[in-house]
């Protein structure tokens, strides 16, 4: 089955097609706030590259975040729109899962860390066992300090990956280097989730039947809108 993957949850915009065996075609740019402009022509381009009609697509995979709210929504809305027209289901994947899956490591723990701006990061931890990736705990938002504490709790050799990891590298090194047996940072080229990895994950999940209906795609924001945060703060006083 052909899966179309769409990823616009960070500054990168990427699209890929997977036929169940290999990635047929993929494209990516780092766009910084031109997600909507770039995405639709890119889907068209990738389909043409692979000589695939959208009607041949059997499922759509989309990065549901966490990441840039506006970017995430462009990808999710596009995925839902196409899925609705061609009448297929969706495989939602988090940006954190995609980041972790893209890096190969001998370390025991992978920490996917996405920049959440305002001095915060989104993160999730993964454990490598028998060459397979397992998520440990839920995706979270907080200060790099809170993320570091979470990593320290595991106490194992760790690979940090993502824009949030690189942005706060100094802080992470200061906190983690003295304690952990080993600490690594994935290269910048792995710092953004990409559709070429997304479709690989989606292919495995499709085999396990992890589909959701078009209406059931829920963006992973992790942070409430400011107005609600302010409202809650005011109400609590």
């Amino acid at each position: 089955m052909i899966i179309l993957g769409i990823d616009t949850a960070t500054d990168a915009v990427s699209v890929a097609l997977h036929d169940g065996d290999v990635v047929l075609a993929s494209s990516e740019i780092r766009s910084d706030r031109q997600h909507a402009e770039a995405l639709t022509p890119m889907i068209d381009f990738v389909c043409k590259q692979a000589s695939v009609e959208l009607w041949d697509v059997g499922g759509i995979a989309v990065d549901i975040g966490p990441g840039l709210f506006t970017g995430m929504r462009v990808g999710i809305a596009s995925a839902q729109a196409i899925a609705q027209v061609i009448d297929v289901s969706i495989i939602p994947v988090t940006s954190l899962d995609i980041l972790a899956a893209a890096v190969q490591t001998t370390n025991e723990v992978i920490a996917s860390v996405v920049d959440a701006r305002r001095g915060e990061v989104y993160w999730s931890l993964y454990r490598m066992s028998d060459g397979k990736l397992k998520q440990v705990g839920k995706p979270q938002i907080g200060s790099p300090e809170m993320c570091a504490v979470d990593v320290l709790d595991r106490g194992q050799s760790t690979l940090l990956v993502g824009t949030g990891a690189l942005k706060h590298e100094t802080e992470f090194r200061e906190r983690l280097n003295p304690v952990l047996p080993a600490l690594e940072f994935a290269d910048d080229k792995y710092s953004m989730p990409l559709a070429s990895t997304l479709v690989e994950i989606a292919h495995e999940r499709a085999l396990r039947g992890e589909w959701v209906l078009v209406d059931e795609v829920v963006p992973m924001y992790l942070r409430a809108p400011d107005a609600e945060i302010n409202w809650a703060t005011r109400s609590a006083q």
Binding site: A36, T40, R73, Q84, D215
Partner: protein
């Protein structure tokens, strides 16, 4: 070249502010379906539209709203010839949801996408029921964000004759309603209260009534506030009625001047304030007196909807052809700006 005619079916999508809407319109004005999901309740406690909350709600509502519009229309996706969406003006994050959705549907259907100017669509709302108008037409576009007197010389050709120099008419209604404790949205609340009051009770100012085509409502709002502070026991109904009459008097007087100035054959109303009962009544009387034909949008077409987007999209496609799939949102678009630049 794309053939555009009476049988051309356009799917319209609107997400510029706090309504998620989809509609199917054939031939520019035959509304096969029109679905609007409003977010009013989600924003009510914040006293205004919160952009991030609006964007989130649009994503949630978009798929079911489109599904219902397609179902209600009695035609399937395969019968859609083009997909139109509001590209601006509006809240950028909110616009992007509709634009991305529309472009993706167009791509999946292999049909043209049309980026629509939301203000232009409000002009077309009046024409949905009455498309065969004579130009030049004066369009009085009155909403929460705009007060424009537009000379529509032909389809797609506009010039602005007059506009507000401060508050939009709808904004004045909202502010006065909030001050009088009548709640949000203010337009319908003032309209309701005014019916029970005496419009001659208070002589509120009619700013700039005799000079130029522009209007101003901020002084009127201040006058209402000052009056009520001075006479706190005054009936709210009388204040609402007197305020509403002052707004309508100004809009009608300026419309007469502008219509004479451009030699209008037709006058059309558009925007949320076009639902105001006194404005509809006074414009009807005024047009009858001057021999101008008046085109009033139905109540449902005054507020944001997607039928007007599909309609404007049909005319745009007819005249300019499709938009590029690389089009994004244009949050600051003006009526006279072209989307297909």
């Amino acid at each position: 070249m794309i053939r555009v005619d009476e049988a051309t079916v356009v799917l319209g999508i609107e997400s510029s502010c706090d309504e998620t809407a989809a509609a199917v319109v054939m031939g520019g004005n035959d509304v096969l379906s029109s679905v609007v999901a409003t977010q009013i309740e989600q924003h009510a406690r914040f006293g205004g539209v919160v952009p991030e909350i609006a964007s989130r709600a649009h994503v949630e509502a978009m798929t079911p709203v489109i599904r219902k519009a397609i179902q209600d229309s009695g035609v399937g996706f395969e019968r859609i010839d083009a997909v139109a969406a509001t590209v601006g003006p509006g809240l950028v994050g909110a616009l992007l949801v509709g634009v991305s959705t529309a472009k993706s549907i167009a791509l999946a259907l292999n049909k043209p996408f049309i980026g629509v100017n939301h203000l232009e669509a409000h002009l077309y709302a009046a024409l949905l029921d009455d498309p065969h108008v004579e130009f030049p037409m004066l369009v009085v576009l009155v909403s929460g964000g705009n007060t424009l007197l537009v000379n529509m010389e032909s389809h797609g050709k506009y010039s602005i004759v007059g506009q507000t120099i401060d508050d939009a008419a709808g904004e004045a209604f909202d502010k006065v309603a909030r001050f009088l404790g009548l709640g949000h949205p203010g337009g319908p609340a003032i309209d309701r209260e005014a019916k029970l009051g005496n419009a001659q009770a208070i002589e509120f100012p009619r700013a700039m009534l005799h000079d130029g085509f522009d209007v101003s409502f901020s002084g009127l709002k201040t006058a209402v506030v000052n009056y009520v502070r001075k006479y706190p026991s005054i009936s709210t109904q009388d204040v609402a009625a007197s305020f509403q009459t002052a707004v309508v008097d100004v809009l009608v007087a300026k419309s007469v001047k502008a219509a004479q100035h451009i030699g209008a054959k037709t006058i059309a109303l558009g925007g949320g304030v076009a639902a105001n009962s006194l404005l509809r009544q006074q414009m009807t009387a005024m047009c009858a007196q001057h021999g101008w034909r008046l085109v009033l949008p139905s109540m449902a077409m005054c507020t944001d909807n997607a039928a007007m987007i599909a309609s404007a999209g049909w005319y745009r496609l007819l005249q300019d052809g499709p938009s590029e799939l690389s089009m994004g949102a244009m949050p600051n678009l003006k009526l006279t700006d072209r989307t297909n630049a």
